[in-house]
């Protein structure tokens, strides 16, 4: 389980970092513009979202059945299927495969589920070097960081920062801000690793139950390298990624690439259905699929929260979130930042552990509007705030009630009494307006640190209307 971090403090620190603020603003602006350009027709956008949402909903409706079908189809195709309830179990499964093949180093394609498992650290403890091959992941890995965005892991860094990093960490590299040169450097380093790695580890974007096919979406070709060159390929994914039919894949892929990076298609869409077959010249001899639960089946059990699992990890919610745009991904201190992280992390790890970020949402709805599979993210944040503050133990989420503070409960208790008691409400209105000059700025707490105190009216609307009627 992840450790609790103080989200609010991390957010405050991020807000004070002008480079970080600038990097994120610029990056999010460009991602939003590019997405908008992919959906010039509002009607088509809404229909594409309806379709993608319906496909994901149907996948979840039949999740158990489709997982079993996926397993049997994969096995029929020669893919070995493993089930893990926890990241620890997933790590053990992967380690066992690596050790059986005497792997000293493995090459990785991008996988957020492997980030959930902190797989690289785990393998390192067992003397296996896991090298990230996605350029962004590689950059954050050599800097000892974690991804700050689920699609663009190194989006928090500018050219200069990456130039400095390469010059410092990669032997024989001179400082250059030329992106083509930097890219060529990474290509060279990683090519030799692809050649020699004993195992390739990748994520999965969609797993097709009908055919036992693992789909990967990427631009760089590192995903194809990882899943083709080493003799063993291990794919790891969350149990929710299954879709029933092959024909479900195209509509999801279409909204995924357009929503994520504003691309009409990514360079590669890779559909893997088996290890190397008799007579084939390349491809891994062994393919493994690790299906990780890590709290997903718990989310599944609560109908209100199940939509969380529709997510196809496009990142559009964070690209459109005004909070994420300002504080960046690291402030969340979690594997998944931004709006999807705000609904996923507290459910996976408990509100007591990762619930603080629930307060960092103005419920402006931009994420829900952008979501290509129509996850009602603002409603789910609102539901989780209810779970976080309820005191009846009737909720379903780990750590329910953990954020209920006595003083807040008293405030809302009083609020309730005043607002349902007409004479009390009017008396409060009268008192507030008559004594308006006496209300000290400090009474408004942090509000007035950056704002002038709002002026209470001389008379309430209730009074004005009463006077008019009489």
């Amino acid at each position: 389980m992840n450790t609790a971090v103080n989200f609010t403090d991390a957010a405050k620190t991020a807000l004070k970092n002008p480079t970080l603020r600038f990097n994120f603003r610029q990056a999010m602006d460009s991602l939003r513009e590019r997405r908008a350009a992919q959906f010039p027709d509002q009607d088509e956008l809404e229909r594409a979202r309806d379709l993608a949402g319906a496909i994901r909903r149907r996948s979840l409706n039949h999740l158990a059945e489709k997982l079993v079908q996926l397993e049997s189809q994969c096995q029929k195709n020669g893919i070995q299927v493993h089930w893990a309830e926890t990241p620890a179990q997933a790590n053990e499964i992967i380690l066992e495969v690596c050790q059986r093949h005497d792997a000293k180093h493995v090459i990785k394609g991008k996988s957020m589920v492997s980030e959930e498992c902190h797989l690289n650290d785990y393998l390192a403890k067992h003397d296996i070097e896991a090298l990230e091959s996605d350029l962004g992941e590689y950059i954050v890995q050599i800097d000892g960081e974690t991804p700050s965005h689920i699609i663009m892991p190194a989006i928090h860094k500018n050219k200069k920062e990456i130039a400095e990093l390469f010059a410092e960490k990669i032997p024989g590299v001179e400082y250059t801000e030329d992106v083509d040169t930097l890219t060529a450097i990474a290509r060279k380093v990683l090519r030799s690793k692809f050649e020699t790695a004993a195992v390739g580890i990748s994520g999965v974007n969609f797993a097709v139950a009908e055919t036992g096919t693992l789909c990967l979406v990427e631009n760089e070709g590192n995903g194809r390298m990882t899943t083709t060159v080493p003799p063993v390929h291990i794919a790891i994914t969350g149990i929710e990624k299954v879709v029933p039919s092959l024909s479900d894949v195209a509509p999801l892929y279409s909204v995924l690439t357009r929503s994520a990076t504003g691309q009409h298609a990514t360079t590669y869409f890779n559909m893997i259905s088996s290890p190397r077959r008799e007579g084939e010249r390349d491809g891994p001899q062994e393919v493994h699929l690790v299906l990780l639960d890590n709290g997903r089946s718990k989310i599944y059990q609560d109908e209100r929260m199940q939509d969380t699992l529709k997510c196809i990890r496009c990142g559009a919610c964070m690209n459109h979130c005004p909070v994420y745009t300002r504080i960046g991904g690291h402030a969340y201190g979690t594997v998944y930042p931004g709006p999807i992280g705000q609904i996923l992390n507290p459910q996976q790890y408990g509100i007591d552990q990762q619930g603080e970020m629930l307060s960092a949402c103005s419920l402006n709805g931009a994420c829900g509007e952008a979501c290509p599979v129509r996850i009602p993210i603002p409603s789910l944040i609102s539901e989780l705030r209810h779970e976080a503050t309820r005191n009846d133990q009737a909720g379903t989420v780990y750590g329910q009630g953990a954020l209920r503070k006595l003083h807040e409960a008293v405030v809302w208790g009083s609020w309730k009494w005043i607002h349902r008691t007409p004479w009390a409400y009017k008396a409060m209105g009268l008192a507030a307006t008559r004594l308006r000059r006496l209300v000290p700025s400090a009474a408004m707490g942090p509000w007035t640190k950056t704002r002038v105190k709002p002026a209470l009216a001389e008379k309430t609307l209730h009074e004005l209307m009463k006077e008019r009627e009489s």
Binding site: L363, N364, G365, A366, R385, Y425, W447, H462
Partner: protein, 241 residues
């Protein structure tokens, strides 16, 4: 003469009663008889958004009973209208009040939307030429789907030039209790929004939602930015006198 209910909202009641009154007068001028139940208080959004659903539900039930005639309910706020229209049915789901909440939701409107779509207003501008910059609340935009109505009304005023700020659709950072629980993030958002409002080069900033207006006018003033603020309906009412 059509009868309508008016839900003034707690922020208008305490901070912007003139805007609330302006809304009522606009409705009356264009043919509505306005009913204002004196027992009304708040839609319950602050506790609802803070997770305190029982408290919000309790007040919603009491408020729901005030609007039992089949009149349309008009609200001078996208945010509070959104609460009544979308969240009361959700909040009262499975209770005896669910059907009534759903029925009320179907006849709940934001004021600007109502003036345009149901009263077919045309506005005769009596004021001097001026330029305004508008912020539309996220609830009006995304929850109520009435992003353009405020600008449409202002567009009817022949001497008023309407500007929108850069990043028009982005949240101003108010978000109710969000601004209290995450004051630094909220302030950063308000700072950006006010910078963009100021850059629009308008004579005045107008906004049809009290929460955003309070947040932004307070930030403008604190930052020493010379840009007067008005509630949208206050501004419109003055122009048509």
């Amino acid at each position: 003469m059509r009868d309508i209910y008016y839900f003034g909202t707690c922020l208008v009641d305490l901070f912007y009663p003139q805007a609330g009154m302006a809304g009522i007068q606009l409705l009356e001028r264009f043919g509505a008889r306005v009913h204002y139940p004196q027992e009304q208080s708040c839609c319950g959004q602050p506790p609802f958004n803070s997770g305190f659903r029982d408290e919000a539900q309790n007040v919603a039930i009491q408020q729901l009973a005030l609007f039992d005639q089949p009149f349309d309910l008009v609200v001078p706020s996208g945010s509070c209208a959104g609460m009544i229209k979308h969240h009361w049915p959700e909040l009262l789901k499975g209770t005896d009040h669910e059907a009534r909440a759903t029925e009320l939701a179907a006849r709940t409107y934001e004021l600007g939307e109502y003036l345009i779509d149901h009263l077919n207003v045309t506005l005769e501008d009596q004021g001097e030429p001026t330029t305004v910059v508008v912020h539309t609340s996220c609830s009006a935009r995304r929850e109520m789907g009435v992003a353009e109505q405020g600008k449409t009304l202002l567009g009817m005023l022949k001497n008023v030039t309407v500007e929108v700020p850069k990043y028009e659709t982005e949240c101003c950072g108010f978000g109710g209790t969000f601004s209290v629980k995450q004051p630094e993030i909220s302030a950063a958002m308000a700072e950006d929004k006010t910078t963009h409002l100021a850059a629009a080069g308008a004579d005045r900033f107008v906004c049809g939602d009290s929460g955003c207006l309070m947040n932004l006018s307070g930030t403008l003033e604190k930052r020493g930015i010379q840009l007067d603020s008005s509630h949208l309906y206050d501004f419109i009412w003055e122009r048509v006198q």
